[in-house]
């Protein structure tokens, strides 16, 4: 399989290790065809997105709330005709330590962790380092975490994707010292 970036390490987990997906599903490469970290509004990224299907194209850009400014009434009216079973979208807040603004992203747009992480990296202009099952993220000061339904702060990537999407209430990209002590799970 093509090695595209750090996140494809996740894809190459052996059968005995915890997989990021339901048992029996095949992990496919999710990242784009180029090695380049896609920048927002990069024209080449647009080309990739418009040619391939989502599974093989670069990760979908995070949808900003209320943009483009089309009323939900109009969006829904046109969507029913497209016959897509896109639901309401699952918007969660994303904050990053040190950044003065919050963002909201729609989790239903992504199908797996690498897509989400790439999107977050683009949005906040940082990189997350490498994920290891036991030690967490290494190689960067930033650690992506999320708050689950029980109010616990978890490391992104610890649980299967579907479980993450259904239990995630909000995301927080933590920095530096706060991260120590945050293991996997409760």
């Amino acid at each position: 399989m093509e090695k595209v970036g750090d996140y494809d390490e996740l894809v190459n987990l052996k059968a005995t290790e915890l997989r990021l997906g339901l048992p029996g599903t095949e992990e496919t490469i999710s990242c784009g065809k180029s090695n380049k970290r896609a920048l927002p509004d990069d024209d080449t990224e647009k080309e990739i997105e418009s040619t391939g299907k989502t599974e093989t194209a670069s990760p979908p850009k995070a949808q900003i709330v209320g943009w483009p400014p089309v009323r939900s009434y109009r969006r829904n009216s046109i969507q029913t005709k497209k016959n897509e079973s896109e639901g309401q979208g699952n918007y969660v807040k994303v904050s990053m330590d040190g950044a003065p603004y919050l963002r909201k992203i729609d989790l239903t747009v992504y199908k797996k962790y690498p897509e989400l992480m790439k999107s977050l990296e683009n949005m906040f202009k940082f990189s997350v380092g490498e994920y290891f099952e036991r030690e967490g993220y290494k190689g960067s000061d930033f650690v992506p975490t999320y708050e689950d339904k029980d109010g616990d702060w978890m490391l992104i990537g610890d649980v299967p994707w579907e479980m993450f999407v259904s239990s995630c209430k909000r995301l927080r990209i933590m920095k530096g010292s706060e991260v120590k002590g945050l293991g996997c799970g409760v």
Binding site: S50, K61, G66, W67, S72, R74, M96, L102
Partner: protein
């Protein structure tokens, strides 16, 4: 009293004397009747006059003056003129207040219902607007406010003769509608635009109880399906209905009831049906109402596909409706049936295809005949080619709106500057444009600024954030600069694409008539905001999101906020301290601060950070119905 008022009352005294004499004579003649108040006061006055003239305060000079003024002011309908009149003196203020029948309130929180009913005593028509426009894009939590309830309660007591209510972005409940229907026996017109909070049961009460109802227009509102057959609730007798619009009602309707309603509504001119109305049902309605001028065609798709002669002759139905000038609907268009509208094309002044996925080839044969179109709404599925066809035929076009079929930031976007330029060259009388696209050039925008000098509304939405001119790679500053410079009548502007502070310097320098400005993902610094706030004297509504404007920029508008309807700043770089500063400096301005969720809690990261600032002037101080997640500084 001023000198002028004293003079005029001295001059009036001759008239007063004559007035008084007439009254006393008439009251003397009618001895069996108890003296009416005016003559008894007149006689009392006559007696007092000789004894103590100096303490005599005649109410009558004002009455005479006011009677005259009343007769004159009834011809004044413009609210700007009336506002000016009311400032002349107290007497004129009073008479104007008594003769104002139509009241417009642009922000429901700018005053209390009590103030309205105290000042204006004879209101027959009320226009009320609630939430700011960015609430339409999920930037405001639900339950923020703008409830109609206190207004309907106050007007129910004060204006029993109220005839018309027009609400935009208000929260209206079924109870509110029921109270309305019960309180105003002469009620004629209800228009709800972008409202929510009510359902078909509320509509049913209005339909049933408002016996004089002429207009029931539900436009882009959220109407819950209470599974009530509201169409059957109209009275069984002939109705006064002239306009019935329910295209936003997302629930099935009783077709038979609708048909019967149409039959007993001889004055019906506008009928806008929802997407549950198939072609067959539409056909039956058209046959029964050939006098229609405006038709919302529902789904424009047949329920059953019949072959040959069994199928209704849709084109004939359109031919029979000779007065149709406005067409909309097409919610689920089956393309083969589109040509049926051809008979009415030549007379159309307004055509709304914005819910139909219409390709250039589908559009061209239709638009070719629409020489009289003034308003055209469509999806970008018509492509640049379709826009060129519009430009070739629609020389009378005044308003164009092109919406995205795929309203996502990274969608393909089939229209561009090519279409915009074509429109500008073909439709020289254009006044208003809303254009969603993914690719644009300064050249095309500049061309429009030069070709369409009548533009009053220019709203361009380049959907990808921070997109530059896709040919030169430069910011879109020059294009928007040309718009504000060349379109001297411009009152409304929405900008997008990659924009630096320079664009805003142009807006401040040339945008002297701009009343509404919408900004998103634009500018470099506070200077941009300062240019606008210092340069645009007519600015009333300013809505900004996701732009790098902070406390310094906010401060630069202090001198303006009392003269504006509102300012909205979300996801910028404001701090609580900065917002508080404005709140303290301007007691007549309400400063609201809130997040985008109603469950916002303390967050160490965002403690001082202000997600959304919404400020507006108010005569009656901060509102008392603010929910927990709103902080009023």
């Amino acid at each position: 009293m001023t000198e002028e008022e004293e003079d005029s009352s001295a001059k009036m005294s001759e008239d007063v004397k004559r007035y008084l004499k007439l009254d006393t004579r008439s009251s003397a003649a009618a001895t069996s009747e108890p003296p009416c108040s005016s003559s008894s006061s007149a006689s009392a006055l006559a007696n007092n006059k000789s004894r103590n003239f100096k303490s005599f305060e005649p109410p009558c000079p004002d009455h005479v003056l006011e009677n005259v003024l009343e007769n004159v002011l009834q011809f004044l309908t413009s609210r700007c003129d009336r506002n000016a009149v009311s400032l002349v003196c107290r007497s004129w203020w009073r008479v104007e207040a008594q003769t104002r029948f139509e009241v417009f309130i642009g922000n429901c929180y700018s005053l209390s219902p009590l103030r309205l009913t105290h000042r204006f005593t004879r209101v027959r028509s009320l226009v009320l607007k609630g939430k700011p426009r960015f609430a339409d894009f999920n930037l405001m939590p639900r339950n923020w406010g703008a409830q109609f309830a206190p207004w309907v309660a106050a007007t129910a007591k004060a204006y029993p003769w109220l005839e018309k209510v027009h609400l935009k972005r208000m929260f209206v409940t079924d109870d509110d509608l029921a109270l309305l229907a019960e309180s105003f026996p002469g009620f004629k017109e209800l228009t709800l635009v972008c409202c929510e909070g009510f359902g078909t049961s509320g509509i049913a009460v209005v339909a049933n109880k408002c016996r004089q109802l002429k207009v029931l227009d539900l436009l882009e509102s959220e109407v819950t399906d209470d599974e009530v057959d509201w169409l059957s609730c109209f009275p069984a007798s002939e109705t006064h209905l002239e306009s019935l619009s329910f295209d936003c009602v997302e629930s099935p309707i009783n077709f038979k009831a609708l048909e019967e309603l149409v039959v007993r509504s001889p004055f019906l001119k506008k009928l806008r049906t929802n997407r549950f109305v198939s072609l067959e049902v539409l056909h039956r309605l058209m046959v029964r109402a050939p006098q229609l001028t405006s038709l919302g065609t529902g789904s424009f798709s047949p329920e059953n596909v019949l072959q040959g002669e069994q199928e209704p002759d849709y084109a004939a139905a359109f031919r029979a409706c000779k007065s149709i000038s406005c067409l909309s609907g097409f919610r689920d268009l089956t393309p083969e049936y589109l040509p049926a509208i051809s008979p009415v094309c030549a007379n159309l002044t307004s055509l709304n295809f914005s819910y139909a996925n219409i390709s250039p080839d589908m559009l061209k044969p239709i638009i070719r005949n629409c020489h009289n179109i003034r308003v055209f709404w469509a999806l970008d599925s018509i492509c640049d080619e379709g826009l060129q066809a519009v430009a070739a035929t629609c020389k009378e076009l005044r308003e164009l709106r092109v919406f995205p079929f795929d309203p996502r930031e990274d969608s393909e976007g089939p229209i561009s500057g090519v279409g915009l330029q074509a429109i500008s060259e073909g439709c020289r009388k254009l006044e208003s444009i809303l254009y969603f696209c993914q690719r644009m050039t300064n050249g095309a925008v500049t061309a429009m600024s030069e070709n369409c000098p009548q533009l009053t509304v220019f709203r361009l939405c380049i959907m990808g954030r921070h997109r530059p001119d896709h040919v030169t790679g430069k910011p879109m500053d020059v294009g928007f600069g040309a718009i504000v410079k060349n379109c001297k009548k411009l009152t409304r502007l929405a900008v997008s694409g990659l924009l630096t502070d320079e664009a805003f310097s142009y807006i401040g320098e040339y945008g002297k008539l701009i009343r509404t400005l919408s900004v998103a993902f634009a500018g470099n610094s506070d200077r941009a905001l300062r240019y606008v706030l210092e340069g645009c004297p007519k600015l009333q509504k300013l809505e900004i999101r996701d732009s790098p404007f902070g406390d310094v920029g906010l401060r630069s508008g202090m001198h303006r906020y009392c003269n504006m309807r509102f300012v909205w700043l979300s996801s910028c770089v404001l701090s609580r301290g900065g917002c508080r500063e404005v709140a303290h400096a301007l007691p007549n301005v309400v400063v609201e601060v809130f997040g985008s969720d109603d469950d916002d809690d303390d967050d160490t990261v965002t403690g001082d950070y202000v997600e959304t600032l919404y400020l507006y002037r108010s005569l009656d101080g901060p509102r008392k119905d603010a929910p927990k997640f709103v902080t009023i500084l």
